[in-house]
């Protein structure tokens, strides 16, 4: 069965049908239809992990059909240990997002649900595409639904945020398009990503391609200093939009580094690793400090996302020629990507829960929420701890692996990176203290009603995921082990054309 195609096209088809036939006077039916579609799409992705062969780094569940004959473009899909978890994460997040919007979105429900379903299919497509052009089409197409989601259902400055999001990302990815076409030409007329991996390239060509990809993916990750679109987009986006942005869309950039930059331009990656490490450390330290002074909860979590993603890019570009360091950092970075998907998504959902009741994201508008919403507060504190990286939660595993590997590469880099534990604890716990603990601050907080069944269900599922990943990360690392070591073996070999 073409599982990957189903995972891509089922949600897209459902989304299109909802757009075509959904109406606001049938909102309840639209919600249920969207939920069923999301659940089915998620169910389709489960066999990808249960049937995954962990003993090989090759692409699995492959599909290959001719697409555009004139340019030798193929509709080519496949997943390996690097990407398979993101397919699941995307489908899972979509379910959560649809549940989270249940009572909140009352206008143009079908468009909201449809946009998220279509977005979900496109995102899965990005992770599965094994053809450069197909990847680009999915990568770019995700901008359209996200632009509309931010712009239609967003906050007061939504128009500014939507434009900034779209144009920033487009600017980066257009350069990538030129690089893709150049690779197409260099490889003798093929968009096959795996063929590009084997393609010998001179150093100067590699550097140009590396930077073209760098702009596209650095904007998406986002890396300092091209991160400024993210806080705006997060603050203005509706809860669901923030969740998908943080949990999945940021991962597209990091995934791009794994799939394109590292294997296609290994020599340039080595040569410019210092830059990547420096930018990542700036993200970890400086952005961590910026997060400390935020007054807006969403902004705080947005900056925290940038800092956490700094860890990911750091993990990718720490090369250790002698020992096991690289393997640890790279797997750690991927684990960090997955765990950040759960944790940041959950953090944004928590802010959404509060915002739905009080309609403010200011930290100062709250205080003592734990008194009136005890159940909710326990979830929120759990996710905050995961964000800090407390052992036993998902956030710990990835950071620990990256730091451990980094020590083997360079002690001082590891030292600076490890400081994130301090900054992270600083900004997260301080926010938790001001929002959830202490005396009840005002009448709004006094009138708060604790979460209902729907909210409980979605937070509970996420809490289980966060704890499971923290306590027993083996299934995650097992799946990616072969692919990561395969990638590292590949990257270690120079491909400068002689």
């Amino acid at each position: 069965m073409p599982l990957l195609s189903l995972a891509i096209w089922l949600p897209i088809l459902a989304g299109v049908l909802l757009l075509a036939f959904g109406r606001d006077d049938r909102a309840e039916a639209v919600r249920w239809a969207a939920l069923v579609a999301a659940l089915v799409s998620f169910a389709v992705t489960i066999p990808l992990v249960t049937g995954f062969d962990v003993s090989t780094a090759a692409m699995q569940f492959g599909e290959r059909h001719a697409w555009i004959g004139r340019f030798n473009v193929w509709y080519m899909l496949g997943v390996d240990g690097l990407s398979v978890w993101f397919v699941l994460l995307t489908a899972f997040t979509t379910v959560i997002v649809i549940v989270s919007a249940w009572e909140v979105i009352t206008e143009r429900v079908n468009q909201y649900m449809g946009a998220f379903l279509i977005l979900s299919g496109l995102l899965v497509g990005v992770f599965c595409a094994m053809d450069g052009l197909l990847f680009y089409v999915f990568f770019e197409a995700t901008l359209i639904p996200m632009y509309l989601i931010i712009g239609v259902w967003g906050g007061p400055r939504r128009v500014y945020a939507a434009f900034k999001f779209f144009l920033y990302t487009l600017a980066g990815s257009l350069l990538m398009l030129v690089a893709l076409i150049y690779l197409y030409y260099k490889s003798g007329g093929s968009f096959d990503i795996l063929a590009w991996h084997r393609l010998p390239l001179s150093m100067s060509a590699q550097v140009l391609i590396f930077f073209a990809f760098f702009f596209a993916f650095a904007v998406k990750v986002p890396m300092w200093p091209v991160h400024t679109w993210l806080p705006d987009a997060h603050v203005e986006a509706p809860t669901g939009g923030s969740v998908v942005l943080a949990a999945i869309m940021l991962k597209l950039g990091a995934y791009g580094f794994l799939r394109f930059s590292l294997p296609i331009t290994p020599d340039a990656s080595h040569k410019w690793a210092w830059l990547m490490i420096a930018l990542s450390l700036v993200a970890v330290v400086y952005i961590g400090l910026v997060a400390l002074v935020q007054r807006d909860m969403k902004k705080l979590v947005a900056y925290s996302s940038i800092a956490h993603m700094g860890f990911v890019t750091l993990g990718f570009f720490l090369f250790d020629e002698k020992g096991m360091g690289s393997e640890l950092t790279t797997s750690g970075a991927i684990v960090q990507m997955i765990s950040h998907g759960f944790v940041s998504g959950a953090m944004f959902l928590c802010i959404g829960v509060l915002y739905d009741r009080v309609h403010s994201r200011e930290i100062s508008a709250y205080g003592g929420v734990a008194n009136t919403m005890p159940v909710f507060a326990s979830f929120a504190v759990l996710f905050a701890m995961a964000n800090v990286g407390l052992p036993g939660t998902a956030g710990f595993v990835g950071e620990w692996m990256v730091i451990l590997g980094a020590v083997k590469v360079n002690f001082w880099i590891a030292m600076i990176a490890a400081s994130t534990m301090i900054w992270g604890a600083g900004y997260t716990l301080w926010m938790v203290k001001r929002v959830y603990f202490g005396a009840v601050a005002n009448d709004h907080v006094r009138d708060l009603v604790d979460i209902g069944k729907r909210e409980f269900a979605m937070l509970f599922v996420l809490a289980v995921a966060v704890l499971a990943m923290g306590l027993y990360p083996k299934p995650f690392t097992d799946v990616m082990h072969e692919s990561v070591s395969g990638l590292l073996r590949h990257v270690a070999v120079s491909k400068i054309a002689r």
């Binding site: 555009i68 004139r70 340019f71 632009y147 076409i181």
Partner: protein, 493 residues
């Protein structure tokens, strides 16, 4: 009578006869029954389209009228698309024109004559035939733009169009006469051979090329010969704007190929440099000026200038270091670009006409405010057009841009690769103003609360148009193949 001689140009002859029949028939038809004229015109266009399709799949190349005209696959394909574009234009234009008292018999007759001019240009193998077709098309269009006599804007537009158009024709004619003087022939293939001998005074040839390229740039609307485009697009009644901005673009592309590629490819080094400058200037000015517009028609005019610039870029890398190995790739990419651009333009102006009512022109960007609430379907269709013009996948505009960029990069000449980077950066500017239209439709609340009341055939046609832009974006292979076939066969002969 020798039927063999007539066979290659049978569609043109049939169209001429039918145009006359339509003109005469209309005299006997009272105003309220104008639908009869309309149906007759559409039926004739439809049969012409079928004939073009038949010839295209026949695949053969014929010369007729002592080599004055050539009927080749490229001509038939462009002729087919022009005819389809004209049919679509008439579908969109009919209710709009009817509510403004513009639905006269002349509309159909002149449109058919304009199309005849286009078909003649497309099939020309002789400088004079090119000129003949060009004038037939242009004169019909001048008259069409001027049809709303009592409107100062339309009259001004017609005046500008006429004066500048005549100037452009003069340029072209002057250039062609120089080529004739230097090579001693009016026939395009003879000129090609004469240039190939290398015994002709190059200074004269280059000067002639400059005039020819300027004339073509006028007709295409490339900077710095673009001044008429915004005024005509904005001033003319929208149905006439579409007549000017639809099929004639294909014709301008066709004569550019006929003259520059078939006739003067020996001078490619010279005209490619000119096209590079024209295209960069067009993309820069078109995109920058479009940002500042509040009138949608004017914005689309500047956007057309930018799109033409991008299309011209596709014509640049045909000849690299005297080698034509990348020519069919480059020219078929440009052809794909112009065909899809026309498809998208038809839709955008169709949308403007759909939203317009009697006594209300929906030509400001603000008239599209909150369209997503008034009509989610048509807001979606318009959004598809806008994303396509901006070149965002999965719409056909992306593949058009990809094809052109690919043609540039595959030359492996650093200059062309940088050109691709410049084009990409400038198209980012373009994304801003297309996104603004989407923003107005989706993010703003409606000010105009009238229901969308367009005629049913317009709605269906627009939906098809939007679906075509989206579907060709998902499966562009077929159309690309057609364009490539046409260009490859042209080079084969």
């Amino acid at each position: 009578m020798n039927w063999q001689a007539v066979y290659p140009i049978a569609p043109e002859i049939a169209l001429l006869v039918m145009a006359c029949v339509v003109a005469l028939t209309d005299l006997w038809i009272p105003g309220k029954d104008r639908i009869v004229t309309y149906c007759l015109a559409q039926a004739s266009l439809f049969s012409v389209a079928l004939a073009q399709l038949w010839y295209f799949y026949g695949g053969a190349t014929y010369y007729a009228m002592q080599h004055m005209v050539v009927a080749d696959p490229m001509g038939h394909l462009l002729g087919l698309f022009s005819t389809l574009a004209m049919m679509t234009t008439l579908v969109y234009a009919r209710p709009y024109a009817a509510s403004r008292d513009l639905l006269k018999g002349e509309l159909f007759t002149l449109s058919m004559f304009a199309l005849l001019g286009i078909l003649v240009m497309v099939a020309a193998n002789n400088f004079l035939v090119v000129y003949l077709g060009l004038e037939l098309m242009s004169l019909s269009l001048y008259a069409l733009v001027a049809m709303r006599r009592d409107d100062t804007g339309a009259t001004e537009a017609a005046m500008k169009y006429f004066v500048l158009g005549a100037l452009a024709s003069g340029f072209l004619l002057y250039g062609l006469s120089m080529m004739y003087g230097a090579t001693g022939s009016l026939e395009i293939s003879e000129v090609f051979k004469a240039i190939g001998t290398g015994r002709i005074n190059r200074a004269v040839l280059v000067l002639g090329t400059v005039f020819v390229v300027s004339g073509l740039a006028f007709k295409l609307g490339a900077v710095p010969f673009h001044m008429w485009v915004p005024d005509v697009y904005q001033g003319a009644p929208t149905s006439m704007t579409l007549l000017v901005g639809g099929a004639p673009k294909l014709a301008a592309f066709a004569i550019t190929i006929r003259l520059l590629v078939e006739g003067m490819i020996g001078l490619a080094v010279d005209w490619q440099q000119m096209l590079v400058l024209l295209s960069i200037a067009s993309m820069l000015l078109g995109n920058l000026a479009a940002i500042a517009q509040t009138n949608l028609k004017r914005m689309l005019a500047y956007s057309t200038i930018a799109q033409i610039g991008f299309m011209l870029l596709g014509l640049c890398p045909g000849v690299v270091a005297g080698n034509t190995y990348s020519a069919s790739n480059a020219y078929s990419s440009a052809m794909f670009y112009v065909v899809t651009d026309v498809l998208t333009s038809l839709g955008t102006f169709g949308m403007i006409m759909l939203l317009s009512r009697a006594g209300h022109e929906a030509e400001r960007i603000d008239d599209f405010r909150g369209l997503a609430r008034r009509s989610p379907w048509f807001a979606g269709v318009m959004a598809v057009f806008m994303f396509s013009l901006a070149g965002i996948p999965p719409t056909v505009g992306f593949h058009a841009k990809l094809a052109v960029l690919q043609a540039l990069v595959s030359t492996n000449v650093p200059g062309f690769i940088w050109l691709a980077v410049i084009a990409v950066v400038l198209s980012l500017l373009g994304a801003y103003y297309y996104l603004r239209v989407v923003k107005v439709m989706y993010f703003d609340d409606p000010v105009d609360t009238h229901a969308i009341e367009g005629a049913r055939d317009v709605r269906i046609m627009l939906s098809f148009n939007g679906a075509a832009v989206l579907l060709l974006g998902i499966l562009p292979g077929g159309l690309m193949q057609l364009c490539e076939q046409a260009i490859v066969r042209m080079f084969a002969t």
